[in-house]
Symmetry: D2
């Protein structure tokens, strides 16, 4: 059963290397998460445990692929940004997206019970994923701004929608109708006047989504060793610098975040 | 926070539609499964429970994507073949591979405890995945033959290797050395003369891998209904035809399998 | 001036190999040939010399790339079909299309004066070109049928249009209006009743376009040689088989052409 | 002869848009120009007329595609750089390369007799062409430096080689042997000591190749008009600014050229 006569089939494979010297964004989305969140009775408009589970999976992914310089998540989607110069998987798009998405999906099931100790996972979820490549820092920041603006727009809408439905006595159709064509200011006003809610005081997790990045932290460790001139075991405090993933729910559209963390875009700290 | 000024970033996405009228193969492989199988103390050379868990995940994938006409698995890899004319995800390669691989990975964790009731899953596994496109039936059959021949070659080698190590008292280096340059016939002979094993009598699951395909089955159901002219509830046996996934461990290199199941390649039963 | 530090830029090049075991179609079109044909006062609706110049260029291309099994031309476009198994330029799409299109364009200028002895070429023309890949023989035949049906539809329309304008006294706008929404049968009728033209008797070059393919021809040559036993120069007739490009203006939509020339699709003559 | 049932074949075409916000380089090379230059008895190591014909064709291309911001040519190759933001042909790689290469090839034949008034063009040449995309200005400059360094290295070698062969009495094999493993300094020395040639005094056209770019020029025109208050035709000098292609044979590896012409890379003049 020689394999050689079949091996020609390998030549049908194609190369899909990402253009060098570009940011590589890997974005995943839950498949049919509307149905998934209904099946698992997620709170509306935001389920804090579900969001934190997403964030936990993202940390797993970042720890596995340390060339991810920043990640941003909202709702059932997550974007991972590999640094411009990464050679992970020789920059092959297929390998990047499938490794990320499969680890994320496996982590989702693996960690479910930590976030939903009293809820059974009904069935394994799927995610779809794509790779997009950005040549300039400006393009990348605009990409991340696009996602965070999307988070804001959807969350403001959903907050109004579910308030109308859950407390206002509207049917889902009536709520949709009510919100059609309204501006942000209208929605803010509606929340305030009708439901006594100041939108800007809602949790940042809901309004801003989640940004993950690396930070060097100093750890103090007690190290035990034998001193040269005696048999005694001595103890000394040593400092170790470690790279850890930091989770924040803050604005990444303005310049402030990027000035504070220039190393994310590969720039020196001023 | 208008989103419109950032939306231009969508134009950096690329299309990756598979050529029409071609078989689409989605193949996934466990990432670092050498380490994973060590961590979980899988039996050598084959762990039956681990293989059955793989097969179980493949059934999840086929039930979700019914345009998969046949799947073949061995060791820590699985190939799924979408039929030539599928329009699933508009034939976009990214969507096909990431949906398949993430559902497979999530199913792996989800079903772990059924196959390893006494073993804790230590960490979530990742899989990488690719799409390959084949224009002709012959190319597709050669692809599947390539994978099944690979299964055979690896299994024969691994069976010898682990016999030498686990029972023969060889170190792994010595076993490697012993097998270097040997032919199939040498390995068969070694197993027989030294370990009293007839290779061809080992389980087909190990030697042939696993092939999954659809089969129509007739189900007899009891249906209850009210008869027109009375108030009584009557019961009638009805026959329903259902498509179910069949699991076999048989040869798919020769013609026999394909003659028995011409519908897999979209041909009429003769 | 060492070159090594710049050579990294080569890694930005991408591979664009065509899928193996597929027909490769290279189709070129004149760029702005509306303006080009006006500048050179081509006859309307068809300029026979211009069409023959196109055909001449196509012969140059076929003689250079003998893996082209068939070519089809109409108006200012030409399609060249490389056989399924070609390894020309390692099947790289860029190389295939640019070599074909540049040779075609250079041949166009090179041969202009043979077809237009009394007309100056005003400026060099450009052509654009693309590669399309077809997995099955049926797909390929449908592609060629698509182009020949296109030839027919355009030619019928243009014949009517220019008759109306050049002989019927219509303005171009009026002619357009007159033909709007008409069927083939209407156009045939219009030509017959108003201009006494039986469309089916117009030259096949205009109605069917041009198909090029290879044919083996026997050539009888006189060969001179010295006989062994004498000093005299003797002459003998020898037969040589040569592959030459044949030009025909016939139907390639129906089966007849393909039954007559099965070798074009790589099949044995029955 | 309805076309609709064949039109499905259009869906086999693929998109090949270049990544936005990147420099697009279109590079062409003469096909078999070794043979072509022999057939046409080009002077060795450089044929000035042949180089000027190449440059002439490049000017045709730039005048047709004004989004080409800079072009660089040496030997039988030419690189055209489309500006980062170009939307020419919707950035489709196939269209960009085939239009450029076919116009170049047609121009080559069209202008041949101007540069070789006493030499017949024996056959039409072909060129192959590719598209490469560069994300940053630095990458682009490195690309152009790579080509100009290549020009220098080849020209120094060829100058030595042909001096040895044409004047030194070496066979081509002996010349090859003589030059094997030599450094630039050795070759400079060889030219000076053996042939009394100071390499740096050879024409820049040979040593530096040719760079083309746009420059605004003021043209003074005499404009005739009727004055308001009289019937007399008056004449006035007016100044018009026009964009013209400039041809230079200078260093583009160092910073000087780019400081002088920042607008090539889309930067403001300081």
């Amino acid at each position: 059963m020689a394999n050689s006569k079949y091996e020609y089939v390998r030549h049908f494979e194609t190369q899909d290397r990402c253009l060098p010297n570009c940011w590589i964004v890997v974005r995943l989305d839950g498949k049919n998460f509307h149905k998934f969140s209904d099946s698992h009775e997620f709170s509306k408009p935001n389920d804090e445990a579900a969001l934190n589970l997403m964030n936990c999976c993202a940390v797993y992914v970042m720890n596995e692929f340390q060339d991810i310089t920043v990640a941003y998540g909202e709702s059932d989607e997550y974007s991972f940004v590999f640094r411009k110069g990464t050679t992970q998987f020789s920059r092959r798009a297929s390998k990047l997206m499938t490794n990320v998405v499969s680890l994320f999906a496996a982590s989702y099931v693996f960690n479910w019970s930590k976030f939903f100790p009293n809820k059974q996972l009904m069935y394994p979820p799927a995610f779809d994923c794509r790779v997009v490549v950005y040549p300039s820092d400006e393009n990348l920041r605009d990409y991340l701004s696009w996602r965070q603006a999307d988070c804001h727009i959807n969350n403001l809408y959903n907050t109004c929608f579910w308030k109308l439905v859950l407390q206002g006595g509207y049917s889902t159709k009536e709520a949709e109708q009510k919100l059609k064509g309204t501006y942000s200011s209208d929605k803010n006003e509606l929340l305030f006047s009708q439901f006594d809610i100041n939108y800007n005081e809602l949790p940042q997790l809901f309004r801003k989504g989640t940004v993950l990045f690396w930070q060097k932290v100093e750890e103090k460790l007690m190290k035990h060793f034998k001193s040269k001139d005696s048999e005694r075991l001595e103890t000394k405090e040593v400092t170790r610098v470690r790279n850890v993933v930091v989770t924040q729910h803050i604005d990444i559209i303005g310049d402030e975040f990027w000035k504070l963390h220039p190393e994310i875009l590969g720039k020196a700290k001023s």
